[in-house]
């Protein structure tokens, strides 16, 4: 067996699996009702329009059936009555680490957040359970008019801006889980980048579920004004419990003409978390939206980052990787809708299944009748590393314009014996060789990540490959 001590040292065996004692200041009882929804809104002192939309969303959620596709048996295991929908562990969102409660501060320090902020981030928000506990942004960006707040503060400080865009890309009636999120959302990020401003270094949000049977429902809204650009990075972890938690976020991106939004995610929830997320962006003329999406953890992920190419000349890219281990089902994919002419898109999906895990690519690409000269390309590659694991591909392509050029290709294979033999003949152990091949397989994804994330992802994958041989 190869020595992966370096990787273990860097990553640990699901290094984020510890938990702090639950020391909440407000904790709602388990279960969801209109009263709970109204109480959350009241607690946050929200405007009436937000309370109303929450209640409407709750009513929709109550009526809406569970999806009749995907891993229905896993979905049916979700007990909505055994989830806490709001839990606050800190009285306020702090701008100084020293003011964050000590136990929470320790959590994020163990996750390396303050260090990362000092070295290479433009801003950070850290969410613990339902609320953001820490938030900061570089002064020079603030002075240029960049708004980077937790969503609750965004609603308080910029109600008109939030009202204009909230639910404009993902309506609450979009699906059962977007309705749930709209009803009980708390936390998340609100970002506005003014016209022509380029945020050179990424901003990061870090989401942590600590309590058992917790539901985290953050809501993120990013608006990039004309000609601006921003790179947003999010990471997610949770402790390992024997009971399940639910993470159901909604992310809305608005890329106004000529702007560029890149949204990177490294999802490493523990294997007891349902990760059911709706992410969608709308790209106006010549705007560009990129989703860079890594799914490593969780029990069941259902996530299909989407882009609506509304403006002529807009472009979308989705690059995603998924690792499915024991008991995991990564049901991920992408959706791109070409509504305008001369729009282009590219989807690259890579997945690995191991130890009985199941990886699914589920995607949709549409070209509307009025969208002339569109080009799109979809590539899905999957590796199945052992017996009992599984890989699925469910792509949908609807083309209603004769000038469109659309390509989709997918392949499922095992690790090539020739590649293994070559690496072993160069002195690597079989396990190291396998880890290198897997890292090479994921390389188109990791090269799009900030360096620190790419290194950690490579180490994480090396660790996951440990014990693969023999």
């Amino acid at each position: 067996m190869g020595d992966n001590s370096e990787a273990r040292g860097a990553v640990g065996e699901y290094k984020a699996g510890w938990h702090d004692p639950e020391d909440s200041t407000i904790r709602f009882d388990f279960g969801l009702s209109e009263e709970v929804v109204r109480e959350i809104s009241k607690l946050k002192n929200e405007p009436q329009w937000m309370t109303d939309i929450r209640v409407k969303a709750f009513n929709h959620f109550s009526k809406r059936k569970m999806p009749t596709w995907g891993n229905m048996s896993m979905l049916e295991e979700i007990d909505f009555d055994n989830i806490c929908y709001y839990l606050r562990s800190s009285e306020s969102t702090e701008k100084d680490w020293d003011d964050v409660p000590e136990d929470i501060r320790n959590t994020f320090e163990r996750l390396g957040i303050p260090e990362a902020e000092q070295k290479w981030l433009s801003g950070v928000t850290a969410q613990y359970e339902s609320e953001a506990v820490y938030h900061s942004i570089r002064e020079d960006l603030e002075s240029q008019g960049v708004i980077f707040l937790d969503m609750d503060s965004g609603l308080r400080e910029y109600p008109d801006l939030v009202k204009k865009w909230f639910c404009s890309v993902v309506p609450y009636s979009d699906n059962k889980f977007s309705a749930l999120n709209t009803a009980v959302w708390s936390g998340g990020s609100f970002i506005y980048v003014p016209e022509g401003v380029h945020v050179e270094m990424p901003v990061q949000a870090y989401f942590r579920i600590n309590a058992k049977n917790m539901g985290q429902f953050e809501r993120t809204l990013i608006i990039a004004d004309k000609g601006s650009s921003i790179h947003y990075v999010e990471g997610c972890t949770a402790p390992t419990y024997s009971t399940d938690s639910l993470h159901s976020a909604v992310v809305e991106l608005i890329a106004l003409p000529g702007s560029h939004i890149r949204y990177s995610t490294i999802q490493n929830w523990s294997s007891n978390v349902y990760n059911l997320v709706t992410k969608r962006g709308i790209a106006h003329e010549n705007a560009k939206i990129e989703w860079v999406d890594g799914n490593i953890g969780s029990k069941l992920t259902m996530k299909y980052p989407a882009v609506i190419l509304k403006g002529e000349g807009s472009h979308a890219e989705v690059i995603s990787v998924a690792y499915s281990g024991e008991g995991q089902h990564q049901d991920a994919g992408a959706k791109i809708h070409h509504l305008a002419s001369n729009t282009t898109s590219k989807i690259l999906s890579k997945s690995i299944s191991k130890n009985g895990g199941r990886g699914s690519y589920r995607g949709m690409v549409t070209v509307s009748p009025k969208a002339d000269n569109c080009k799109l390309n979809v590539v899905c590659d999957a590796l199945i590393l052992d017996e009992g694991s599984r890989s699925d591909t469910y792509p949908t392509m609807e083309v209603a314009n004769a000038t469109a050029r659309c390509e989709h290709e997918a392949s499922v294979s095992k690790v090539s014996d020739e590649q293994l033999f070559y690496l072993m003949s160069r002195g690597h152990s079989e396990e190291e060789s396998l880890a290198m091949i897997v890292n090479g397989f994921f390389e188109p994804f990791t090269r799009e990540l900030p360096m620190e994330y790419a290194v950690e992802l490579n180490q994480l994958m090396a660790l996951e490959m440990e014990g693969s041989i023999g």
Partner: protein
């Protein structure tokens, strides 16, 4: 449970089921009343060689079916409905072991006047080697064709179904088992009927099965042609290729959905599927969903692809420089596009016959 009871117990499929995403069952059902299994008429069916001569010994079309087929698979709605509605309209095509006529055999199905249905059971004997064309013609408002059966060990069969109904709706369902070392080319040529819904399933449950599924689809005017193809690898060393070419003109719509499954234990499986769509007009639409489920890691390879596009301008330019007019160049490219799958469906004589049928359809496209 018999097919009628099974059908009546089924829930109406919704759009989340890709088989029914684009063509709701209500639009395909002969009366639209989903709780009804209507009494339908019988088509005229005859068997001959391609030159019109009598079918030789070794192949026989008998009245009556061969018992309750095994529909124990998910979403067997079309099979169950057609089997229940065709209880008085069953035939069995019995092909002897080693049958080898040297010429293609034509099974002519004429569905005229009234809504009708036929269930044809295929009993293809071991080591048989022949080409079968099932040609559906007529002006029936509604026609249902169910084909079930087995292609037994070592048989080599080119099985082509050509749908040329003048109008109306055609519902077709196949459930064909491919036995040990059998080699099958399953071709579909479709350019008739206003609406076609096909649910084609090929199961390779024994080692060495080999199938090539081929489609040449030409849709014009306001046609709606929806083909769903499932290929199931359930045994080691099985091989499949699916190649589906659709040319779509007028305000028509073609749909190709595929499901390729590799069950656990199908070591050495080799599978691929590809859908090509050629869009010929502004209001035509082509949709594809090539699905893949792989539960075995020790496979030679599994892949799928889709490509959509218009007629290539460079190819048009080249043909025009060689003296073709606009229409001639376009027709040549459409014919070449459809011919790339048509030419794989069988031998020279079968191919020639198919091309002559296709030429008539292309002429209709321009008229």
């Amino acid at each position: 449970m018999d097919s009628a009871s099974r059908y009546l117990r089924m829930e109406t499929p919704d759009k989340a089921d890709h088989l029914w995403r684009y063509t709701p069952w209500k639009k395909v059902h002969p009366t639209g009343d989903l709780s009804e299994i209507p009494t339908l008429g019988q088509p005229e069916i005859s068997l001959s060689l391609i030159d019109g001569s009598k079918a030789p010994n070794g192949i026989e079309l008998k009245r009556g079916g061969s018992g309750e087929p095994d529909f124990s698979m998910s979403s067997a709605l079309t099979n169950s409905f057609l089997h229940a509605s065709a209880k008085d309209s069953q035939w069995t095509l019995v092909v002897d072991r080693g049958f080898s006529p040297g010429k293609p055999v034509i099974l002519d199905v004429k569905a005229s006047g009234f809504p009708s249905v036929a269930h044809i059971s295929l009993e293809i004997g071991k080591m048989a080697e022949f080409e079968l064309i099932t040609r559906v013609t007529g002006n029936s408002e509604w026609f249902g064709l169910l084909r079930t059966g087995q292609i037994q060990d070592g048989a080599v069969v080119n099985d082509v179904v050509i749908g040329l109904l003048e109008r109306g709706t055609m519902l077709r369902s196949d459930r064909i088992e491919i036995c040990r070392d059998a080699q099958v080319r399953a071709g579909t040529v479709s350019s008739g009927s206003d609406r076609t819904k096909s649910d084609l399933r090929y199961i390779m449950g024994e080692t060495g099965g080999n199938i090539r599924v081929l489609g040449s689809i030409l849709s014009t005017e306001s046609m709606h042609l929806d083909h769903h193809i499932e290929i199931h690898h359930e045994a080691p060393e099985t091989f499949s290729r699916l190649s589906w070419h659709s040319a779509c003109g007028g305000s028509s719509r073609t749909i190709g959905t595929g499901m390729l499954t590799i069950r656990k234990g199908s070591k050495g499986a080799d599978a691929a599927q590809i859908f090509h769509n050629l869009l010929l007009s502004e209001s035509a639409e082509a949709d594809s969903i090539p699905e893949l489920e792989v539960m075995e890691n020790d496979v030679v390879g599994c892949g799928h692809g889709t490509a959509n596009g218009p007629i290539d301008e460079e190819q048009m330019f080249y043909l025009k420089t060689r003296g073709f007019d606009e229409e001639g160049a376009k027709n040549s490219l459409i014919a070449a596009f459809l011919n790339s799958t048509l030419s794989e469906m069988g031998g020279g004589e079968l191919h020639e016959w198919l091309v002559s049928e296709l030429t008539l359809q292309l002429e209709a496209l321009n008229s």
